[in-house]
Every structure is written in C-alpha cells, then in structure tokens.
Symmetry: D2
Subunit: 373 residues, 4 copies
C-alpha cells in the first residue's frame, strides 16, 4: 500500500483527492491536512465523508508527514510549498504539488505573475511538469511533480497536436475558456456566493490570468520540439519576431490570448480555441495529427467528426474530450476541449501522476465513467 | 415627492428596495445607507445600477436621515433599529423596519428567539405589524411599521382564511417552507457559496427557526378574532390546553411546526402547509373562505382549482399565489402559497406599506407582472 | 461473471445502471435495450460513455434476452413488464423491475393509481419488494424483485424505525418530499425544459401521487409486524378506524399525506417527515430505535445529533442519510431523509438487490463515496 | 393608445413582449396570437399572467390582425412572415419581425443559411434592420422592421465602434458568445431538458450558426461606411482579398468566426470578441471611439475601466454593457458585451423600435433597472 498524505485536504481539490484515493486499491491515506480545520473531524467539514473517513484534520507539517508518507499531495495556496520544501522531504517522499509553485521554469515569470518571491528556486529545475500525456517518461523518475493547472491542462491538450506539428500560426492562438465555480475554491467571498454566480456568466482576469504563462511556456516547448526535430537544433529557433536561444527556457513561450470565464455550474472546463491554419489543411489532416498523439491515450477522447465536447460528458471522471471544426475556405480552425476541473484538471491528474511515479497502471483507480446527469 | 432613505441599502432586500423605489413615480431616494461600503459608489457594489444610481453609500445615521427623509426603510441586522430609535426620529419620519425588531409583541419571546436584549421596548406597543392585507387600517396611521419576514408573509397568507374561520384544528398546523438563497443574505459564508448551495436541498433551523414565533403570534390573533366575533369577548378563549387571558399578547400564539429549507435558486418561497380540517369541508367550502378574504386583494391570487403555485410565476413581482387540495375522506388539507421573498417577502411589501402610509394607491409602483423565465 | 441485460437503458435510471454495472467487477452487460434508439450507438445517446461502451441499442425482447442473461433489469414505463413477463423468462433469469408493476400487492390499488390493467397478476404474489434493508432475507431466494420507487425508498427508510416500534401515531404522518429533476425522466416535455424548472420550486401530484400507496402499504406492514410481535397474531389489528383482517394485504396500509416537489437540481431527494409521537419520547429514545435497525447497515447513515441530511452529501452514491429533531414539549417529531434518487432510489438499489440475489457482498460495486461538489 | 398585436405570443420572446407592453403606458395589446395554444387562456400557458392577462390565444391571421392593430410583432419561426406578408398588411400596420426573414439583404445568403425559400423577396429592400442605435433614422419612417437576433445585437454593438473607425483588422474578428437557455426557445426537445443543460456548457453550431451572416453583413456596412467617409465612394472598396462593388449588398460582409455556447442560466448573452488592432492603440484611444458612438445612448453602458460586463447586471432590462482590455504590446484587443437576450436581444429592442416608429421617447416603457439577484 502506498501511504499518501494530503496537505490542504479541505479545499475542493483536496477533497476530490480524498474521494479518488479512497477508491484506489493501492493507497491508504495517512494524513488529512487542513490548516483551517485543525482537530475538526474531516466528515464534519465534508458531510459526504460521514462514516467513510474517520479522521481528524491535522495541521500542516511537511517534515513530519514526509516521514510517514510515500507520497505527499500539496493542494495549497501559491507559495506554501516553496516556503517549506527541503532536500530531506524530497528524499523521504515523492511530492505532487497542485499549486503553481513549480510549474514555471522561469523564476521571473513566476514572481511577476504571482507577485510573491519564490522561496525554493533550487528545486525548480528538477520539478517535472506533470501533464501525464506529454511528460510521462520524465515523470517516472521524478521526485517533485508540478501538477498542471485546470485551465492549463484543458488548453494544452486541446492545442498540443496542432502546435507540435506546426499546423497553426502560433501567434494566432486565442483560448476562450469557461469554468465551473469549484475552480474558484472554497473560501468565503461575496463574489462566489450562490446568488452572485447563479444566473450569470462573466469573464475575469482578462489578459492577466495566471494560467497564461503556464500555457504559453508548455506550448512553446511543443513548438520548439518540432523545430528541433526538423533542424537537429534549436539554435536558430524563433517565434514570431523573437529570437530565441536554448538557454532561456522562457524565451520559447508563445504569445497568446487567454480569457477565463465563470459559469454557473459546479464542475467542468470548456476551452474554445481559435487559430489560423499554417496551410490549407482539412478536417482529416488535422484529425491525423490528433490521432497521432492521442489514439493510445486512455484519458483523451477525440470525438467523432461533428460532435463537440460538452462538460456534462466528462463530469466526475479523468477524461479529456476534444474535437474541432475547420473553416477550409479561410484556413481557420476552432478547437474545443473539455474536462472536469477537479479531476483531470487537478486531483485526478495528481493520482495519474502518482500511478506513474509508483509504476502502477496509469489509469488505476481512475477508470470510473463520467457521472451523468 | 416622498423623500425616502434606506439604511442597509447594500443587502439583497435593500437593493431590491432601491430597484422598486427607482420605478416609483412619487418617490425620490435621498440616502443610500451602507455601513459596509461607506463612500463607495453604489453602482460599484451593484453593477446593475451603473448609470442609474449616481450616489455614494453613506454611513448609518438615523437621526440625521430622519431630518431629510419622509420615510426611512431599515433593512438592517436584528437589534440595529431598536438600538438607535428614539422619539425624535419617529416624529420626523415614518419608519418601515425590515428587521425583526418590532414584529413580536412579547419582549421575552423576542429575546429568547433572537438572543439579544431589546433596547427600545417602549416602541413595541405602537409598532404596527405591516402585513398589508390583514392590517391595512392600522397601518394608515402608524409611525413605525414592522415589515413581516419572508417566510412569515408566505405562511400567514397561506393559512389566514382557514384559521380566521376556524376551519382547521389549530394545533395540527405544519408549515414546510422552501426558500431561494437570496433569503440567506449577502454576507460571505462558506455555507452560501455557489458550490455548497447548488445541486442540493437542505432543511435548516428545524424546530428552531426565528420566524416560528412570528407566524404563531399572528395566526393566533386571527384565531382569537374569530372567537371574539362569536363570543363578544376573549375571556374564555383557549387554544389547545392553554387558557388565555386578553392581557398577554403572546398567550394566544398557536403551537405549530415550521421547517425552512434552502433551495438552489435566487428568489422565491414556497410554503406547503398541512392541517386537519375541523369539519368535513369540501374544496368549495374552503374556496369560499379564501375568496371572502382575498377576492379584492390586488396582490393575492387564489389560483384556479387544480393549479398549484410555483415560485417561477411570481418572480420579480409583489404577487402572492395560493391554492389548496382537500382530502375529504380523511379531513385533511394541503395549502400551498408562493411569493418572491425579496419583493412581497421584503422590499415590495415595504413599498406597499409606504403607499398605505402616504395615502397612495396601494399598488403604486408595484404593478409590474412577474418576470419569466 | 454475471451476465446482465438492461431493458430501458437509455432513460436516466437505465443509464445509471450502465454506469454502476460497468464499475462492478463481477458483471458484464450483454444487452443495452432501448426501444427509442434501436440500432443507435449507445455512446451517441450518452456521450459520457464514448470509448467506454461500444455497443448499439437493441430493441426490447425479454424472451430472447432471458436466454442470454443471468439477470435482467427493466427500467421501463409502467405496464411494460407485466405485459411481457412469463414463466419461461423467470426460470431463465432473475428479473429486477425498476417500474411499479409488481410493487403493490393489491391489484385494485395498482389499477386505481396507475390507471392501467395489470396483465400479469399471477406474479404479484411471488414478487419481492426490494427494499434491501427491510427485506434482505426474502430477496435472497426471489426470482422477481420489485425495485422500490425513489420517493418510496426515502420515505420508508426515514420512518421505518418509528413505525416499526409504534413510536408515532400512524395516522399523523405527513411526508413533504423534494426531488431533483432526473426523477421526471428523459422524455421531451415543455414542463421539464431547463427554463421551466430552473429558478423555481413547485409541488405536483398533491394528494394524488402514485408513490403514495406504495409508501402506505410498506409502512403498514411495519406497523402490523409490531402488532404481531406483541400479540402473536394480527387478528384484531386495526389502524385508526379501519378493522383489518390478515387476508387483505391492502387493508393494513396507513393513511398518510405525501407531497412531492420538483427542485431545480439534477439529482437527490429530501423527505421531510412529520408525525406526532405516541408518547413523550426524547431524541435519545428515538435514536435508540434508529440505531436498532440501522447501526449495521452499510448504506444507512444516521447522522450526528443536530446534523440534518442535505442531498449534496449523498450525490452519486448509494447512501441514505437520516436524522430527526424532537419537539418534546408538544410530542412532535420531524424526520429528514436524503438519498440520490437515481442511485439508492433506483439503479443503485437495483444493483444492491442483484448482489443479494447472487450471494455477493451487498455493497460490491457500490462503495464509492458521494461526489461533491 | 397604440393597438399592438403579437403573433407568436407564447414563445419566450413573445411572452416577454407581453410583459413589456403591459407595462407600457401608451400600448394596448389587442391580439395574443399562438398557433399552438389556440383558444387556451393565455394565463394557463404563462402562469405569471394570471389575473393580469384575461385573454384567450388566437390563431395566426395577419390579414385580420392588421385591420385591428397599429403595430404587429411577429415572434415566429423563420419563413412564417415571408409566407404571409403582403402590401395590404403593410399599409394597415407597422410590422416588427423578430424572426430572421428580413434581416439579410442578400436572398441567396438567406436561403443558404436558413435552407428555406424566401417567399416575399419584394419586401427585403424596404425592410429596415432594427438595430436602433445604428439605424435610428431609417427606422422612423419604415413600415417593416427586421428586429435583430440576440447574438447579433450583442456582437454588433460590441464591435461597431472599432469597425466603424477602422481600428481593427476586420479579417481577425473572433466572437465567442455564450447564451442563456431561453434563446433555445420553448419547444420540447431532449437537448433542452433541465438535466441536459444544467451543470454543463457546450458549443454548438460551430462555424455554421445562422447569426453569422447577419453579424458579418452589418459589420460590413460599418466598415464600408468608414471607407466611404474617407473616399467619398465605395467604388474601390475591398475587404481582405475580395473586391467589392456597391451593387452587391452581400459582398461587403466581413469574414469572421462566430461560436455560440449554451450556458446553464435562463437569460443573458455574453460575447467575448477578439481582434488585432490595426495600429498601436491604447485603452484610451479605443475608449474614445466607444464614447463617440455610445456616450448619448440610453441603453448602452460603457463600463468603467477595468470592469467587465457580467450578464447578471443586465438581466430583465434593455441595457447593453460593454468594455474591453487592450494588449498594447501585441496590438490585440478583447471586447466583452452583455445583454439580456429576451429584452435587448429580442422583445425589448422590438419595443424600442416601436417607440421610434411612433415618435415616442425611445426608452418609454423600457426604463426599468436590471433585476438582481
């Protein structure tokens, strides 16, 4: 049995981790961490766990936890993990971080977008970006996983084949994303009250949302990889006007527009992505690219032609659905991707990362079909 | 023009008052009070009022306000008005209180249920309970109106004709009420977050909700009134086992069960009421009683036989819909009443009270049809 | 592997059966029946099953199916199963019927409430009412299970201990139930459109809902059982004014009031039940009764004192949550019970019945915690 | 009093017309048309109108109606009005058509997108596109108004100043629109059932939605108008590669991407629009353009810098809210516009058109503030 500890187990992502790990046959949860509810029974905080979880919430103590757990999940605010992480912890346990602390390779980018100092830059290099479908090999041997953001996973998986195959103009990418309200977390704010969210849709963080650089960086790697494939080197690699050197990880980040919206529903993210095709590609051409990367992926479903993703079809599951429509006349493409933000966009992907880290089948404990209605 | 001031204009009921008074041709709002948002532009707090209300929020100052306003609405927490009310204020302006401070005639009952000391018992006697359809005459000459609670208005109007006509066993009344979430107010609490309320229904305050004594007292008056009608005195009046004297206002309160529930919708209250008939009455017998009291009431709609109220049909309006089904075999009755909790259950009834106080047509500014969908 | 067939697999209950059976390690689905979608791919009808179910919908053919399946689930309209059931089918397979065809023992009651002729009265006697917690022993050896209705399961489990122990006046029972909209089924009706249901709550079928006689009959058995316990016979058994003989199964049915309401949410039923206590019982007295019947039940959770059920805490699971508040002064009780109408109220209980029928652990495939938010 | 008749008064837009006209002091509704509910009492179809509308639904008869009404609103399926309109009708009454029959000037475009033959092409030329803020002058003297679509009004008003001022590359326009479910109409379809829409967001009609050519045509006029302003003629006018002549109204249509989405809420449309700036404009530059066209418009609210539209702030009103964010570094702009699809997107704008046609203040009967929550 893998002994798992969760720091931040009383947020929505933390609670979903609890739910998923309870159903995982190879895992035992040894630590229900919650700074806000120390000593309170977990099932008082989450009534669904009554008679299922018989544990009290423990305060955050990563050092102690690392001695008891094989894997630690941190579903914590930005800055927490970087503030406490040390070499001992990483030698004791694997750490899967659901916050943004180790997602960006460029510390300046991190500090600029998150407006906090990064307290553990020494671990940035070794942290592996845990988007399982793309980085499976590196994850296997990692000690520290930066579990991707929910918008990020949706956006990257939606666009990856097109970017990786250089089938779109990379400076034309627009991502219009819509998220359920669980993505806003469980803290008490007027803006997230029922009556404020219900019967409304709103954009937020327009041109300033923190998931933007994460998407830009990861898609940049995909773009660059194709360049290297073709040229054997990235030396002369450029994106748009920028000249890039291999040394600067950030410099390959794409320039894109990302707009998140809040939708009156609990779960689910839909990303509607727009780009100009770099050539006169047909639906079938594009389809080939998606099949190339996704046809063997358990959790990625490229839908039948003409069927667009809807968040209801992935709810409660680790699936990511994707499809697209091509405007051949104008060489434009619309790509839609959908997932459950607390599963594939957070806790489910974290479990998937754990499975890879521990040599288990990647879908162990994650095979449940989506719940509808 | 009636000059109106609102203390507590940034709660949901306060904002609805603003909306209704803006549409009222005889009223000018002279004071947007809000302790929480002093000096903030009102339309920053409520974006719907952008370009419509060009005022800043003012701090609570009832004395000053009473010099500027003909009528003051207090949509404030329990205890506020009782803490500041004085004779000067009441001689300067009419006061319509949307809190519970002056709804209960028995101070002990108030202090027991609200767990706060009543700071202005000297005004309890003169305060008129502003359920317009029942107390219209007393309202006309009042200085201080205790505007009824939302659950209370729904429950009383649903049951009044049956109680007033002694057609039901008064110790058999059960009120199962369901409310939209605006009734919970606009303060930031985890329990009222979108994801906590959405996709769920829950009972709360079972056997302990504060609107219980208010319903019990008012229905008690109705019951007693019929007794007096018949006997010319209330001297020997009893309810159940209790022997009552005229002197003690509380002693005539009924004993009933009231259970509120929280429903995932913004507005609306539905009360499903149950009672045993005191004789073998038919639907038509009961109908006659409802028509007797309600057929000339603009805001009360007794629906066609077989049609039960639904909250969607009253949303945004001051209407109260009611109907019932009779189980003749078992001499039982189910009565359903519905209204919009922030209109007829709060701000709309407050405006209706204002209209009565100032000799205007009672439905002035309140004739708008319900908004659907 | 148990081979399972589903007639009516494209309704909401049918689809939930598919979901649950796919996660059940001992079951293989061999027949996706759907009269409305014959030959259509199942995953075109339910997009959540894309890449998971690779089968086409088959027309209804119970005879043929019974040769291929060990168990047949019929999630069909009233009258279907009674119209086609025969001895051969029952000797080939176990049948678990999610419709009402075999729930009522009195054929007159069935025909009166459902307004259709019963075509297979010869199987009524042997059919076992599949409320697992109450009828576990009879289920084990049954061939035909009448899987209870959703409102019924909620109501009976909420009240059973009180009725079985004669702790309440059985003619005082009032059940005010609230259901999510999946209970209304998946057929296209204006009344069930999004804009008609959203932002509203309504009562329906007041005093006439079809689940009433089912609740009345089953609670009647519980009441009668206690009488037999005490007297060794039911010969002089009466309920209220009615004198009952053992021969007439219907005659022991209670007289109660049941009011269902439609709530704007997908899943979940909450029943708020009211009764007069038959003696001056305390919370602890009542608690003992609930613990007596439920403390070893995996799926029944009697909550901690003061905590009332909320549908959000059972969603997606087979749990039934219950608790109550006692008004000692007036000898009244309010009992609240909650479950997921498509799981414990339909498909989940059907699987639980299957587990009992086939000698599996009763919670096999049903242990998943509730999904929140 | 203006005598108004409504054909199609039992759809959502038709009912909203009823609600608005009932509150309009200069209008009397003389005809409640409804092909589906002939002879049924209007208030049986819409319970909100109980005791308010005392009329039965009449069958569609435009000829007869035109003799009784000063203005006819047709809230009917595509093709209806074109199938029955004639010169007599237009000489008797003004006609305001809420369908798409007379919105497109190019008959081929109409027949291609709507897949029906146009039966009254002779009236296309004279029909005035009733987007009041843009075409006020032409509306005044029109006989036939083509009331714009809901997505169209949102999209055009969001982008008009930028297009009219040539501040964006017109071939870079992407409109990602999100609509409440009332836009899908009141007909019984599985896809619009509560459980199918709730807890989900989906794109639909990707690259094929019928509002696309309407937006493209109208924005094309705006673009061309600026060209004419500058050149005194449109002779050499081109958009992208297309060379255009003045004679062909369609040829000036822009090429743009429009993606509608269905959101789980009753009312509201949000359009998030993207474009490349044609020069290095700042927020203030763009602001000047919006103020130039909108600062005197009663129903258009350009929000304060940093505040983005949310549909909750316009619900129930005729307001259109708009704002934008500028990415100066990359010369890109994101524009967000919001309105209530059944008011400014349908019935409200129809009333606004009526006001203009009859010389009333344009906002008569439309001044009510948005309803929140």
């Amino acid at each position: 049995m893998i002994r798992a500890g969760i720091i931040g187990s009383t947020g929505y992502a933390g609670q979903e981790l609890v739910r998923l790990l309870l159903m995982h046959k190879d895992v035992e949860i040894v630590w229900y961490g919650s700074h806000s509810y120390v000593d309170k029974s977990y099932s008082e905080v989450y009534g669904n766990m009554f008679n299922i979880v018989d544990a009290k919430c423990l305060d955050d103590n990563l050092d102690e936890l690392s001695k008891k757990a094989d894997v630690i999940f941190t579903a914590t605010p930005q800055g927490y993990l970087a503030g406490v992480l040390n070499e001992d912890i990483l030698s004791n346990s694997k750490v899967i971080d659901l916050s943004a602390d180790f997602r960006l390779k460029n510390i300046d980018t991190y500090e600029k977008w998150y407006k906090i100092e990064h307290k553990a830059p020494q671990f940035i290099e070794e942290a592996v970006y845990g988007l399982c479908e793309l980085n499976r090999e590196s994850i296997k041997s990692a000690r520290l996983i930066a579990n991707p953001g929910c918008y990020t996973t949706t956006s990257i998986l939606s666009l990856y084949p097109l970017v990786r195959e250089h089938m779109i103009d990379v400076d034309s990418i627009i991502i219009d994303a819509k998220s359920g309200t669980s993505g806003a977390g469980r803290s008490a704010k007027v803006a997230n009250l029922y009556c404020e969210v219900n019967e409304s849709i709103k954009p937020y963080g327009v041109l300033t949302h923190r998931h933007t650089p994460e998407i830009a960086e990861q898609l940049g790697y995909a773009y660059k990889a194709a360049f290297i494939d073709a040229n054997g080197t990235a030396e002369l690699f450029t994106i748009g006007q920028k000249e890039l050197s291999e040394g600067n990880p950030d410099s390959s980040a794409l320039s894109l527009v990302f707009t998140p919206h809040l939708v009156p529903m609990n779960r689910g993210i839909l990303a509607t992505c727009y780009a100009r095709l770099s050539d006169s590609f047909t639906y079938d051409d594009v389809r080939k690219a998606y099949d190339k990367y996704y046809k063997d992926e358990f959790f990625v479903r490229v839908l039948n032609k003409g069927v667009m993703p809807e968040t209801r079809w992935v709810e409660g599951s680790n699936y990511f659905d994707v499809n697209f429509a091509v405007d051949e006349e104008n060489e434009r493409i619309v790509i839609c991707g959908a997932l459950d933000n607390v599963v594939k966009g957070a806790a489910g992907q974290a479990v998937q990362n754990m499975n890879i880290l521990f040599g288990l089948p990647e879908n162990e404990g994650l095979k449940m079909p989506p719940v509808f209605p």
